[in-house]
């Protein structure tokens, strides 16, 4: 168990390199096996994880370039544990569901490299390495969208790449400035996050740094008005790209808020609370309204992703344990649900080569299993109680309720709007008569697709009914982070907001 984190990060990349030597015929099986092993490793990590310990576990520390302040620093806590499992799980499921046939070898190798960067982002505690993984994740994704996407893929992939890259260069300046601050305060260089957590940063400086990090995260999430790359990317990406993008890559941004913005800049986070929350509400409502107007199933889900990510960020900025724990749980559930939904759209697209709702109708009678799974995922997406979607959404909103009930009310309308567009989607495509002759002979889900989808359905139900094992682990680390925020805050008002949000009567 000593080096399990390094193994988790670099195993997919190693496997990817070896993948060049695997023949075209067996590469798919190879991809599935490798990702299954990786998933298995992440489960072992969970088993070995001490749920009563809120700090970083399985820490690996290696001074790497001491004069630079760089180190190779890995660690996992409750906040990152399940995001890692989500990444490995979704990658495995995506491989199982993979239906692309051309140039599949390059595709699988790219996804394996992508897996390395995803796991790396969630596990690394040295910020320069974090930046490296963060940026590197763009390269395979660019290739996946650009090479296997649909007609307008080139534009979509370039837009995706440039938007996200441009967003993160300012983060680099912010990172270096943080290193500089640490050097000013202590006389040595360090880019490791736990070291940075010890810094008390002046209020003014926090505001600027918050801004530098905010842009990178906001583009990745994506927050309004930086969201315009996402519909293009989803619209043109192949199914596997969409699944990974929605399920994992977007979570990097929201993870960044939890991991960096809140604990490093507590005062700035509180200062910008209302503007950020306003953006979140715009995201929730505006994206939901656009989703309603879409004719393409995939676009509906893409916009619904933006809408749900609005609630994730809102929960993050609730500044209390319910909100943040809820938002992390919502990241997981959104990962599972949106991944499944994109997979389902991929299934129907493979059969009919269209994603437009008006080309369907009455699918429920032709493909009953497909309709059932779709229905379950849809309900989870809407946030129906006893599904996985409910838990996170409820907690996030309940958490933010203590900050402002009016804003929570507005955000809550997003759930209603979500129900509207999702049910309309379902009605248009699944109910009624089969009007198009081509649809009458569509085959229901095959064994391969069922293998990929059934675990997702099971998770939706299990974690919807009994989320405690996951929630309690997340909660432990979130509580610790809140104490840290409270200690680090330099302004009295910030402390008051945190105390009020938590109603814990002060931790000091």
């Amino acid at each position: 168990m000593e080096h399990i984190l390094s193994l988790l990060v670099f195993f997919p990349a190693m496997a990817g390199l070896l993948g060049f030597l695997v023949t075209k015929e067996s590469i798919r099986a190879y991809g599935i096996s490798v990702s299954a092993i990786e998933f298995f490793l992440s489960i072992i990590l969970w088993i070995g994880f001490d749920g009563s310990n809120a700090g970083y576990q399985f820490v690996e520390y290696l001074p790497f370039m001491p004069s630079y302040g760089l180190s190779y620093y890995l660690g996992v806590d409750g906040i990152s544990l399940f995001l890692v499992i989500l990444s490995t799980f979704i990658t495995m499921i995506a491989f199982i569901a993979l239906s692309i046939k051309n140039e599949i070898k390059n595709l699988i190798i790219s996804v394996l490299f992508l897996e390395m960067t995803m796991v790396g982002v969630f596990l690394i505690l040295d910020v320069i390495w974090f930046y490296a993984f963060w940026e590197l994740s763009l390269v395979p994704m660019l290739y996946i969208i650009g090479a296997w996407g649909s007609a307008n893929r080139m534009y979509a992939s370039i837009k995706f790449f440039l938007y996200t890259f441009a967003g993160s260069v300012l983060m680099l300046v912010g990172i270096l400035y943080m290193g500089f601050l640490y050097h000013e305060a202590t006389g040595i260089w360090s880019f490791s996050l736990p070291d940075w957590y010890l810094l008390q940063i002046p209020f003014e400086t926090q505001l600027w740094l918050f801004g530098a990090f905010f842009l990178a995260f906001a583009i990745k999430v994506p927050m309004f008005p930086f969201h315009t790359w996402l519909p293009y990317a989803h619209g043109q990406a192949p199914t596997i790209g969409s699944i990974i993008l929605a399920a994992v890559l977007l979570k990097m941004g929201s993870y960044g808020f939890v991991r960096f913005s809140l604990p490093l800049f507590p005062d700035a986070s509180v200062y910008f609370l209302i503007p950020v929350a306003t953006i979140c509400i715009i995201m929730v409502i505006y994206a939901a309204m656009i989703a309603y107007a879409q004719e393409d199933m995939k676009q509906v889900i893409a916009y619904s992703s933006i809408s749900h990510m609005g609630i994730v960020i809102l929960g993050t900025f609730a500044m209390n344990a319910e909100g943040i724990t809820g938002s992390i749980f919502l990241m997981l559930s959104h990962g599972i649900v949106s991944g499944a939904l994109f997979m389902l759209v991929g299934v129907i697209y493979d059969r009919r080569h269209t994603k437009l709702m008006r080309d369907f109708g009455g699918l429920a009678s032709v493909m009953p299993n497909f309709a059932t799974v779709y229905g379950i995922m849809l309900m989870a997406s809407v946030g129906l109680p006893l599904t996985i979607g409910f838990v996170g959404e409820f907690l996030s909103l309940a958490g933010f309720y203590r900050i402002s009930w009016v804003m929570t009310l507005f955000a809550g309308t997003g759930i209603i709007l979500g129900a509207v567009y999702m049910l309309v989607l379902y009605k248009k495509s699944f109910f009624g008569e089969v009007v198009h002759a081509e649809n009458k002979t569509l085959k229901d889900l095959n064994a391969q697709e069922l293998t990929a989808l059934i675990p997702l359905v099971a998770l939706v139900a299990i974690l919807g009914i009994y989320p405690k094992p996951v929630l309690s682990v997340i909660d432990m680390s979130v509580q610790k982070m809140l104490v840290l925020m409270d200690q680090k805050a330099v302004e009295q008002t910030t402390k008051e907001v945190i105390i009020k949000a938590n109603s814990i009567g002060g931790t000091h």
């Binding site: 320069i128 930046y131 940026e135 660019l142 080139m154 370039i158 441009a166 680099l172």
Partner: protein, 495 residues
């Protein structure tokens, strides 16, 4: 009666001249050998030259005498030694590119190799002196050799390039002369050190004179370093030269120029003259930004790389503007990493060079030529992609660390806005580097014939590319020791 001049030989510190002497001897030896034996093979000439460069390298690295020598004209301080090392290493790697698969006329002539060595000697003199006259001699020696080397490529475009470079170079030389003259008139000295001291004493009066001298000097060095607005020759000259020389020009003459700029402007900037700092600041921002924007619309990879190298030069001028030990170390550090990456990129262009312009009438290496290269030659495309990612500053590839160190140097000395401008420029730059990656990876191939791309590939070229690729990919392993050495030398020479 004239006084007899007596010079103590020891005080001349002749070992300081040894590095340059080796190459001069080498050049003469090559010419003599060519006179005696007709038809020396290019591989022989190349390898002999590389051997002389290695000897020279040994002399530079092993040098541990007093730093001044030869009537105090030579100054072998830390930055001179690092700069010479970079120059020699770059030369040793760029020269073997002459061993391409296809035969080019210039590489069959022994003069090419002799001139190449003379050029290196020029650069070495240029960086190892703080005497304006000596610097001028070095500058002109290297430049004249370089003009000729370009013209030897024997293509219509090459002549155009050489003439363009020559005329512009002549203008820059005159600027340099005027500037040195004014400095001499003002202070009665041609030594940068002395000039600095005297100007300080007089508090930079008369201001007009100092201003004029500085501006003329900026013009002269700006030309060498291809800073905006003196950059106009760069893309045309790169385009007209062979890829090895273009790559060489993007690295070596600039490092020599940077050393001179560092010696000169460091002295002026550190005096705290506000207007000078402002001029440099504007120059730096213009150079970074304009060249980046122009690079966006280029249709030819070589021209794109030319503009990108201008932008990189802008980053380096920023290091000189900041003027701390860290930023000066960042300059050499960045340039070393940049050198290997550019070596790789230009070698790739050299490999895919084809006699006929099959893809475009105007350009040798249009972007469209690289369409779908990954489907035809996956390894080639991947390696080229890595060079592009590295130049774009994507971690963990080599140039990222340079950028990282440069930006942190800027932040540490409170040039936060400059740091942000550098960061934004890196973001813009990504677009044009990505353009090539997108052409290679995402477009459909224009031809399925891999031979069209590999016409010029030979084992030495492949070895060089492989070496550059390894350094670019695994830079993370050696950046720490490299930086430690560079910082030590830079700090030792008081910059």
């Amino acid at each position: 009666m004239l006084e007899p001049i007596s010079i103590d030989v020891i005080s001349l510190n002749l070992p300081a001249l040894l590095p340059m002497a080796i190459l001069v001897l080498g050049a003469l030896a090559v010419i003599c050998a060519d006179l005696a034996v007709k038809g020396l093979n290019r591989s022989f000439l190349t390898m002999i030259t590389v051997l002389f460069i290695i000897l020279d390298f040994g002399a530079v690295v092993g040098f541990n005498g007093p730093s001044h020598g030869f009537f105090d004209v030579l100054l072998l301080d830390g930055i001179s030694i690092i700069a010479q090392v970079i120059i020699l290493v770059a030369s040793a790697f760029f020269l073997p590119l002459s061993l391409s698969h296809r035969h080019f006329r210039e590489f069959r002539m022994a003069e090419f190799y002799a001139l190449f060595m003379f050029m290196i000697v020029g650069f070495q003199f240029m960086v190892s002196s703080d005497n304006l006259i000596m610097i001028f001699i070095g500058l002109e020696t290297s430049s004249l050799a370089l003009y000729t080397l370009i013209a030897m490529h024997n293509r219509a475009k090459a002549f155009e390039a050489a003439i363009k470079y020559f005329t512009m170079g002549a203008l820059a030389a005159s600027f340099y002369g005027v500037s040195a003259l004014i400095f001499y008139a003002l202070t009665g000295s041609v030594e940068i050190n002395q000039i600095g001291k005297i100007l300080m004493q007089r508090e930079f009066e008369p201001l007009v004179g100092v201003l004029a001298a500085t501006v003329f000097m900026l013009g002269a060095l700006g030309f060498k370093l291809s800073l905006v607005p003196w950059h106009t020759w760069t893309p045309d000259v790169y385009e007209g030269s062979s890829a090895p020389l273009a790559g060489y020009m993007s690295v070596v003459p600039k490092i020599a120029g940077f050393v001179v700029a560092m010696r000169l402007f460091e002295m002026l900037v550190s005096s705290g003259v506000v207007w000078l700092e402002q001029i440099l600041y504007i120059l730096v921002v213009l150079t970074m930004t304009l060249s980046n924007l122009i690079a966006l619309v280029q249709e030819d990879v070589k021209r794109m790389l030319a503009f990108s190298s201008i932008s990189h030069a802008g980053f380096m001028m920023a290091a000189i503007l900041i003027g701390t030990t860290q930023s000066n170390s960042a300059l050499f550090f960045y340039w070393t990493l940049f050198m290997f990456t550019n070596l790789g990129a230009f070698t790739m262009l050299w490999i895919v060079r084809h006699r006929k312009n099959l893809w475009d009438e105007r350009y040798q290496h249009p972007f469209s030529k690289f369409s779908g290269l990954v489907k035809i030659m996956p390894t080639t495309a991947t390696i080229m992609g890595i060079f592009m990612f590295a130049l774009a500053g994507m971690p963990p590839f080599s140039v990222f660390f340079g950028k990282f160190y440069l930006i942190s140097a800027a932040i540490n000395s409170n040039y936060v806005s400059l740091a942000i401008i550098i960061a934004i420029n890196s973001a813009i730059a990504v677009y044009y580097y990505m353009k090539l990656v997108i052409f290679m990876f995402l477009k459909e191939p224009v031809t399925a014939d891999a031979r069209l791309y590999a016409t010029n590939a030979s084992t030495p070229l492949k070895v060089i590319v492989g070496f550059a690729a390894i350094i670019t990919m695994f830079a993370i392993v050696f950046v720490e020791p490299l930086l430690t050495i560079i910082t030590k030398y830079v700090a030792a020479s008081g910059f």
